[in-house]
């Protein structure tokens, strides 16, 4: 802010002279001084729950960074190949190029597994922090006028984040993702009148076909991120226009914002917080396994595993459904001859 004013450049040191010359150069071409004046000392209130949206933003940036690395090695193709990489229990097994390249990223590229795990953990943190952020906004009433539109945009972002999660989860074409896709296929087929055709067009023929991974890939790395970035921009712009909400407290009123200014205190905190979030994700990713696709194996439509299990201990576990089971449910089978299509939805 002060650097843009350069009346007495003579009396300054070389470094200062360079800085003011550079600032002058930029301002004469962008008039950025107005923006710095407007935003530079904007006040942000201090409360831990106000940082949750930032967690979502930062994990999104981590996702973009790690995801870009992964695109350099991933092959979004369902061409059948015989795996010939380093993981012994899958050697010679037929799988799609997508699965084989995922295994190569995991086992043959240094840091590849780390980046996969960073990407996946960051994606989980992204959705979880959006969830918690929305709870905070809801329970503090921060969605009310004039912020309804921003609440709606945030909700759309939440849906988009889950769409990103689903498309990304489907890409490696492993057993888990293939069964996830199959569930989606079953749900799509259940849409009245047009369901069968939507499923048919989506998969480029019968499930699972050979197109779905490359189609989801384009959505996952181009269309959905582009929409998320645009929506995020509007979300942040409206945040600045409406100013941040704050909790009641001594000196706080409906007409003021109390806190620290963007430059320098808040910027240092928020900037530092980005590195902390990134660091925590990297720490989790380097010590905790996530989505070990080599254990799941390639997708085969006749295979799956029990995922909702509560076992691994010596106690007798129970399928979650049985917890709610009063004594069986009346036979749900409708005699095939007379059931109508509509009834089944």
């Amino acid at each position: 802010m002060t650097t843009t004013q350069t009346p007495d450049a003579q009396s300054k040191s070389r470094g200062q002279r360079f800085t003011s010359a550079a600032a002058n150069y930029i301002d004469e071409r962008t008039s950025i001084s107005g923006l710095v004046k407007e935003v530079g000392r904007k006040i942000f209130p201090d409360h831990w729950s106000f940082m949750l949206g930032e967690v979502a933003l930062y994990s999104f940036i981590v996702i973009l960074l790690s995801g870009t690395f992964l695109t350099f090695f991933f092959q979004a193709s369902m061409v059948e190949v015989h795996y010939d990489g380093s993981y012994a229990p899958l050697k010679g097994i037929e799988m799609s190029a997508a699965m084989a390249s995922t295994l190569d990223i995991s086992f043959d590229i240094r840091g590849g597994l780390l980046m996969r795990q960073v990407h996946h953990w960051a994606a989980l943190l992204f959705v979880a922090s959006i969830g918690l952020h929305m709870l905070r906004v809801y329970f503090t009433g921060a969605f009310r006028k004039p912020r309804e539109i921003n609440w709606f945009i945030g909700f759309v972002l939440f849906i988009l984040a889950m769409a990103e999660g689903f498309t990304g989860y489907s890409l490696p074409d492993d057993l888990l993702s293939g069964n996830g896709l199959r569930i989606i296929d079953g749900m799509v087929k259940g849409i009245p009148v047009i369901g069968t055709w939507i499923s048919y067009l989506l998969f480029g023929g019968e499930f699972p076909g050979v197109d779905i991974v490359s189609r989801l890939y384009i959505l996952h790395i181009m269309l959905l991120p582009a929409i998320i970035i645009a929506a995020l921009g509007v979300h942040m712009l409206l945040l600045v226009i409406n100013k941040h909400t704050q909790f009641a407290g001594p000196g706080h009123t409906n007409d003021n914002v109390v806190g620290s200014p963007v430059m320098p205190g808040f910027a240092a905190k928020a900037g530092g917080f980005f590195f902390i979030v990134f660091g925590v994700i990297t720490l989790i990713a380097s010590t905790f396994s996530i989505n070990p696709v080599w254990v799941y194996g390639p997708y085969d439509p006749s295979l799956f595993q029990q995922v909702l299990n509560l076992t691994g201990t010596s106690d007798s576990p129970t399928a979650p459904c049985d917890l709610f089971r009063p004594g069986g449910r009346p036979n749900g089978s409708v005699s095939p001859g007379r059931s109508t299509s509509l009834r089944r939805w």
């Binding site: 840091g111 259940g190 069968t196 023929g205 003021n256 914002v257 530092g272 925590v280 439509p301 799956f304």
Partner: protein, 358 residues
């Protein structure tokens, strides 16, 4: 403060007062001139930090932040070193583990050093007073709104958008119709066949042998002992053009019970062979493979949404979201004793779809 919200006028006044008092000097928070109605306690006095009072501590904290940044440098260098020192040896899982762990820990150190350092700098050393900013209504001022209105009126007048209704309506009509070609363009996402026909048939044909998954070797009736469960695919499916798509419909689970345990309904007397029955593995809910077979209770459990089917009662649904029993594959044995299908499934397998009439 909760009281303030009930009285806008009062809180406004309080806000103004607070702003006036705190704006000129940072330590003015104690000076509160509350209006008569609303006793806003105002800002609490600024509690000086140790770094504000003791220059020694200030210096110490500065060194600490600097040390954190230095740790970050070391971490990043260590990450580069780990990349070189812990290479991946093909086939050696320990090397993958070490590469991931140490590279990750190095990067973690590099990131957390910067992050914690910057936050600590901000908290301990940067100016610590709370500042106050006035909120303005998001709504534009009356003057601005009048100007905006004028812009629209002029635009309407100069273009004749409201007056020339035919022009306007045809434009709207044209805009509505333009996306139509885009919708049509998506038709070729899938080949031209009728999906419904495909969904109603599977790879099974009369006389086709039941074979083991994945080897494709045929199964004799005598191979199944009581309690056996075979994962079955049709003969020749491994060489078919659409192997995976066909397998997604044709997968079958073959089990043997005592013949007297089966409750066979009318018309299905010839669908089983000496207690051996074959059912589609594709769940009638959303299509997951149902293969968790309990050989004593004869229950089949779907791993996705916990639907349960009773093999004794022709795979009737006994729990869960599935609505229909699993379709049964009619089987028999050929002259050599191998199990064969006597027909395709009698109904479409898998989840419901609109055109699924029987």
């Amino acid at each position: 403060m909760a009281d303030d919200h009930g009285d806008t006028a009062g809180s406004k006044a309080a806000g103004k007062d607070v702003a006036q008092h705190s704006a000129p000097a940072y330590d003015a928070g104690t000076a509160v001139v509350a209006s008569e109605e609303v006793p806003n306690p105002g800002f609490p006095p600024y509690r000086p930090r140790v770094t504000d009072l003791d220059p020694k501590v200030d210096k110490q904290q500065e060194r600490r932040v600097s040390a954190l940044f230095f740790v970050s440098i070391i971490g990043s260098v260590l990450a580069v070193a780990a990349y070189i020192v812990f290479p991946i040896i093909p086939g050696d899982m320990d090397s993958v583990r070490n590469n991931t762990l140490f590279l990750g820990l190095g990067i973690t150190l590099g990131l957390l050093g910067i992050g914690i350092g910057a936050v600590h700098w901000s908290k301990a050393l940067m100016e610590g007073h709370d500042l106050v900013e006035q909120r303005h209504s998001t709504r534009g001022s009356e003057e601005t709104r009048a100007k905006a209105l004028e812009v629209f009126t002029l635009g309407n007048k100069e273009s004749g958008f409201g007056r020339r209704t035919m022009l306007r309506n045809t434009l709207i009509g044209a805009l509505v119709v333009t996306p139509l070609p885009a919708i049509v363009l998506f038709r070729d996402l899938a080949p031209a066949d009728d999906p419904v026909k495909l969904l109603k048939h599977t790879f099974w044909e009369p006389g086709m042998r039941l074979t083991r998954d994945p080897s494709g070797t045929p199964i004799k009736a005598s191979d199944l002992t009581l309690g056996s469960a075979f994962q079955v695919i049709p003969d020749g499916i491994n060489d078919s053009e659409h192997r995976i798509e066909e397998k997604a419909k044709a997968a079958v689970l073959l089990v043997r019970l005592k013949p007297e345990e089966l409750e066979i309904s009318e018309g299905r007397e010839n669908w089983s062979y000496d207690g051996i029955v074959a059912y589609s593995k594709i769940c009638t809910h959303v299509g997951c493979p149902v293969a968790l077979y309990e050989q004593q209770t004869h229950h089949l459990l779907c791993p996705c949404h916990q639907s349960q089917f009773d093999i004794k009662r022709e795979a009737a649904v006994i729990f869960g979201p599935a609505k229909r029993p699993l379709p049964q594959l009619p089987i028999s044995v050929d002259s050599e004793g191998y199990l064969i299908a006597t027909s395709d499934f009698m109904e479409p397998i898998g989840p419901s779809f609109w055109e699924r009439q029987l």
